[in-house]
């Protein structure tokens, strides 16, 4: 099935009409570069392909009760989200180059930018980036452009998955990356201030951090600004339903992974990187930006703006090589936030925090299970030290039907027994109780 509309007869008619043959039309390719030797299977019908893929999908285990987070979360998604983003006027369109035919996408992105600003308490936002990791990398490059400096300090409780991405992207560039080990689950002020100097472009932090601990970086922002550097904060958007915002802390660039805003986990993507900042840095921002204007009859209109930063105009001098955004994912996040609304998001965030603290108390009541950090406050994830290797225990709990958490030894030294546990609003009191029972028998 090739989805070609024209019949063989029509194809013949068209060829005859232009006085050509298929071979003629490919005569510009040297014959020795053409081939018919493709070892590819015979095509399938829709019925066949649906059957085949249903079988493949069945080989994935999705029935584990999920306490796995690590930056990627199993939140509830209202049906209306999928219903709206399934409108093909949205999903079969491309980048809104022709504003007259794209006011839907453009207004939605303008509203999305506004929602991200309101959520993070910042002044400007772009139309989105690929994911939370590339968003941190782009924020870092933006800070280098803004300051003209070369050194970046990264807290090691920033998601390790993102830190290794930053390492890859900067391998070919002369950027001085300094990592600071967090102390007892909190950003280590002493070490950060020691490294902070007049060559520093940015300090990169995360709240809640990878261990789920929450912090207030206002003091760090003051110190960073005194040195003329920028504070970049990566955050978990659902947590901003209740937590102090990076904007209120004095962040200069805010980024994060938007998956939790209505996107299914889909084995790693597509997701959404969001980015907001201060108005004074807007011209150094990467990615598409939608702006408001008027049309020739004075009607409110939306267009892609500040395009002079971008690759199709600036080519090798552009702020980024990014061409598109993750428009449909940005739309998803915006529809989700519109449905949740002011109170819905706050209540959801509160529910996550309440359930996580309930789970924390249930699990730390098990003999031998101890909180890893002294830090008292967490959002919906926390780290426990088990009396034995965490990876082993997690494997045993899979057999009992739980994705119980993430073993931190995968990314951190001296954390063999540490497990990162996440509780979203979807988990019930009963499921938390069952996890506690199962964990006790697995130790």
């Amino acid at each position: 099935m090739s989805f070609i509309s024209n019949t063989k007869e029509q194809q013949k008619d068209m060829l005859a009409d232009i006085g050509s043959t298929i071979d003629d039309l490919f005569s510009d390719i040297p014959a020795e570069l053409m081939t018919d030797e493709f070892n590819l299977p015979k095509g399938l019908t829709e019925q066949q392909v649906r059957g085949a893929l249903a079988e493949i999908a069945d080989k994935n285990y999705i029935n584990l009760t999920c306490f796995l987070g690590g930056g990627f979360y199993d939140h509830f998604i209202p049906a209306a989200v999928y219903s709206v983003i399934s409108r093909s006027e949205f999903y079969t369109a491309y980048t809104p180059y022709q504003p007259e035919l794209s006011q839907g996408t453009l207004q939605a992105i303008y509203e999305y930018q506004s929602a991200i600003c309101r959520l993070t308490e910042m002044e400007v936002a772009n139309a989105s980036l690929y994911d939370g990791g590339t968003a941190i990398y782009e924020a870092m490059m933006m800070a280098l452009r803004v300051t003209g400096r070369n050194k970046v300090i990264v807290d090691d409780s920033v998601n390790p998955i993102y830190r290794v991405m930053i390492d890859s992207y900067t391998k070919n560039l002369s950027i001085q990356l300094e990592q600071v080990e967090c102390t007892d689950g909190q950003a280590n002020r002493r070490e950060i201030f020691k490294k902070l100097d007049n060559d520093t472009a940015a300090v990169i932090l995360q709240n809640p951090n990878f261990f789920g601990c929450i912090d207030d970086f206002s003091d760090i922002a003051d110190a960073v600004h005194k040195k003329g550097a920028l504070m970049i904060v990566s955050c978990y958007p659902i947590s901003l339903g209740i937590l102090k915002t990076p904007g209120a802390m004095g962040a200069d660039i805010v980024v994060g992974e938007g998956q939790s805003l209505g996107m299914p986990m889909s084995f790693g993507g597509p997701y959404l990187g969001f980015m907001s900042s201060r108005m004074k840095y807007v011209r150094k921002m990467p990615g598409r930006i939608v702006g408001k204007t008027n049309d020739r009859l004075g009607r409110r209109s939306f267009v892609l703006t500040l395009q002079a930063r971008e690759q199709h105009i600036r080519r090798d001098k552009a702020t980024s090589n990014i061409c598109s955004n993750e428009a449909l994912c940005a739309l998803t996040a915006h529809v989700y936030l519109s449905l949740m609304g002011k109170e819905g998001l706050r209540e959801t965030a509160q529910l996550c925090a309440d359930k996580a603290s309930y789970a924390y108390h249930k699990l730390t009541a098990i003999p031998g299970v101890k909180p890893r950090f002294k830090a008292k406050w967490f959002f919906n994830e926390f780290v426990l030290d088990l009396p034995c290797e965490a990876a082993d225990v997690i494997a045993r709990l899979i057999e009992k039907g739980f994705a119980a958490g993430f073993p931190l030894s995968r990314y951190y030294e001296n954390m063999e027994n540490a497990i990162l546990i996440c509780v979203t609003e979807k988990r019930t009191k009963q499921q938390i109780g069952m996890l506690a029972e199962a964990l006790e028998t697995c130790l």
Binding site: F38, Y94, A108, R296, R315, L339, E343
Partner: protein, 483 residues
Amino acid sequence: MKLVFEKSVPRRRAIEVGDSDVPTTININSDFLRETAAELPELSELDVVRHFTELSRMNFGVDTNFYPLGSCTMKYNPKVAERIASYPGFAHLHPLLPQLRMGGMLTQGALRVIYETDILLREITGMAGFTMQPMAGAHGELTGIMIMAAYHRSKGNKKTTVLVPDSAHGTNPASAAIAGYKVVLVPSNDKGVMDINAVKKLLNDEVAGLMLTCPNTLGLFNPHIKKICDLIHSVDGLAYYDGANLNAIVGKARPGDFGFDIVHLNLHKTFATPHGGGGPGAGPVGVKENLVDFLPVSIVIKRDDGTYALEYNRPNSIGYIAPFYGNFAVILKAYVYILMLGKKGLKEVAENAVLNANYIRTKLNSHYKIAYDCICKHECVFSPTDQMLENGIHAIDIAKALIDRGFHPPTVYFPAIVKEALMIEPTETESKETIDAFINAMIDIAELAKTEPEKLKEAPTTTPVSRPDETAAAKNLDIAFLG
């Protein structure tokens, strides 16, 4: 129409979170809490659905009508792929599962999809291995150039420049620059393709490689492509194939056979995954055997017992370029597409894409100025005639007049080497009736441009807005409604 925030009514709700089933045991210290709730809209579910439905009606997609946006390959996106991507077995799968001990066994279906897509793409392109991680075409380019840099580092080569044709998409020079290379432009010859003598002149030991689309952004296939790749190899450079235009040759020829060392593919173009209004896409990168070790971490492998696993131990790899395994749902849709088309279907894609483009080229040749009067591949590039320009009619006016006739305009003013370019890519999925209607509209516009040009200046008149002021948008910057 009003913004969603302007429709907000205090205390109106679209969702009910429900009562908590657990006691509140910790109250987070207020120092760590926000002072007031985020000012998100307060609406009913019906309000929200109507708002976005109204927005969608102000949008134009492939499902609306003909969308011949050159170089973007706006072909039909099969619905079955959307359905399959929403299967719970795929949509609800946590990406960290395979990183748990024995967790790979929990995700065998997803790993198989990635592995088999890799194998199929190898066969289609003539490459030895792929990474599925790049999340867009431009991301694929950056990954490819990082692989190029890793190759030169491993050989101790001191390379500083990347050659890029003057007709290239802007992402090519931007990607090379971001990876730390200086960009050197190679001029096109009078036939519209990269000039082999110009390549020879610019060639030296500093050249890390060349980035090229083939066919290029003019829809032209460079007959000397193999020689050009050989030349690049003669200074130990690498030839990079930008797969933006693979739709023209898929199932007929392989970039690997032309001599390319690295390719990226745009799954949202050739492999029919939806463009989403500007993403998400996917830009897998394939390489020849000698570069496989540099591919990003991780790679899906098939073990002797027939199971699939993620390989993390890749000491020469460029590292992690995505958090996980790429835009999995997009890869899945492309996999479904390739399985449905099969060998014969893919070949028909290229043949019909090229037939449709040449049909348009031939039919419009006497009405517009053709950039290069020869066989084209997937797209053809025209400009307004001199008389149209004298009458004050530019590419943008033709584009806007097409909107009033129900069509999405072609790409305009690109490639920049053609003045006033109108770049038309019909794709294989469009019918003769649709294409004929488009041709008639173009001819109608050409006539008006001669006789009543002022009429075209008013276009479009059928859309919610007409010719928004982009200069004012940048000058009086308003990019967020903060109330």
